[in-house]
Symmetry: C2
Subunit: 236 residues, 2 copies
DNA sequence: CGACGATGTTACCGGAGGTAACACCCTGGT
DNA sequence: ACCAGGGTGTTACCTCCGGTAACATCGTCG
């Protein structure tokens, strides 16, 4: 009971604004406020924050959250879309930048890494796949990342001549590149092995076929790694 | 963690029991049996299967599972390691195959895709990141995939001459390639847009720099790009 | 004024992971 | 033969989660 304050709402008079039925415009602002609270909690507790915690942070109780967002997924989706906008728009803009192709790719990579660097918890939320799907596959990429993958697919399709296999390649590459940047970016964010610029270079080099172009190593330790077949260490 | 209760386990006492053959099928067989049951349930219900369901499938009750595996994570880990062996060994063998580099890469890709194709539910389990981590990043790749990433890193480090940046590049690429194959393979498994062979080609092409080599499309219908001036290529 | 709609509450449900306490049963020492 | 002990298993319970039903409240409209 420490919250009553924001009862006073204002502004829209039904006479002057007959179009909107909700004279009590408390819906939209309240929703925003709830999303802000959820944002704070997730920044603090990570993407596993409970509905109770979010409600408490907002100064209200659970059912209100459910009235506004239906279920947890609805809340997360609303929250996600809110942040996705920024990252997705940035990536889209980077993809459309009138640069040399390599520079454009680097620009996109840098944009993504900068985005996840700025707000790691939000990034975690965006990239957290929903655990609801019971059967099969299909959610290695969270919705936000699927959108990014689609953007990449569209860009590849529209900008690069890949012959007859265009559609397939573009789609596979869109997913693949997104997953690549997701995994590599996650690792980079966790252990910070180098500067962002350097990381961008490393990934661009990979996409640029340096894996194919590099020379073989002289003859170092030839890959006869001692592979233990099925040893039974038993009780150790 | 199983710090409670049973502190004296591993009942084989070498001195008093020199035959070293416990007729009591105490631990190992039961454990295997439980893992088999868990495997069945997960094949059927997906990786979200509950401990109750697994216990029921095994014909016993929950606490026994907890005695054997500590907690759910322990069970999943045990189950994971069991299957990881196969996939990981296969990938490792593919990485060590004495082929031309491109053929080797294709071989590795095909090995992975064949593995996830064979048992999708197991693949889902293996690639499902544990949701426990509250803060920050670091688990975009599940443990099994981290191991694969390490194998790739090691292979790149040991086989390819990447100059001074060798370590960084190898590690970033290991993660990146793994994430790429994860995301693309997940999509492929879900929507089956093409044959496995074709998918292998698509991914190998991506890794082989076809993104860099392909020509521009003649008239990319870019909305607001009248001309391409020398835009400043940002950081150099 | 009364009706209505939106806001808020408490209390609850079913199911998840996890644990405590107890019962059985087989082995083995004296 | 008997009792102790460490394995097997059980029932019953805890806490916390997402989600919901039913009730209380406030403000506006007719």
């Amino acid at each position: 009971m420490l919250v009553t304050g924001v009862n006073a709402q204002a502004g829209v008079n039904p006479r002057t604004d007959p179009d909107s039925q909700e004279k009590r415009m408390s819906r939209e602002p309240r929703r925003e406020q709830l999303l802000n609270a959820a944002d704070r909690v997730i920044q603090r507790d990570g993407p596993g924050a409970s509905m109770n915690a979010i409600a408490a942070e907002a100064g209200i109780t659970k059912p209100i959250l459910y009235r506004h967002f239906g279920d947890r997924n609805g809340l997360i989706s609303a929250l996600t879309e809110r942040h996705t906008g920024g990252l997705l728009a940035a990536v889209r803009a980077a993809l459309a930048e009138p640069l040399e192709r390599r520079d454009r790719v680097e620009h996109v990579l840098d944009t993504y890494l900068a985005g996840i660097e700025a707000r790691p918890q939000v990034y975690r939320l965006l990239t957290h796949p929903e655990p609801g799907d019971p059967t099969g596959a299909g959610n290695a990429l969270a919705p936000a990342l699927k959108q990014i993958a689609e953007e990449i697919t569209r860009a590849v399709q529209g900008q690069i001549d890949l012959g007859a296999d265009r559609d397939l390649l573009a789609e596979a590459w869109g997913r693949g590149i997104t997953g690549m940047v997701l995994a590599a970016g996650d690792w980079w964010l966790e252990s910070r092995p180098c500067s962002r610029t350097r990381m961008v270079q490393a990934l661009a080099d990979l996409l640029w076929g340096r894996l194919a172009a590099a020379a073989d190593l002289p003859t170092a330790v030839l890959p006869t790694i001692p592979v233990e077949p099925e040893a039974e260490p038993d009780a150790g």
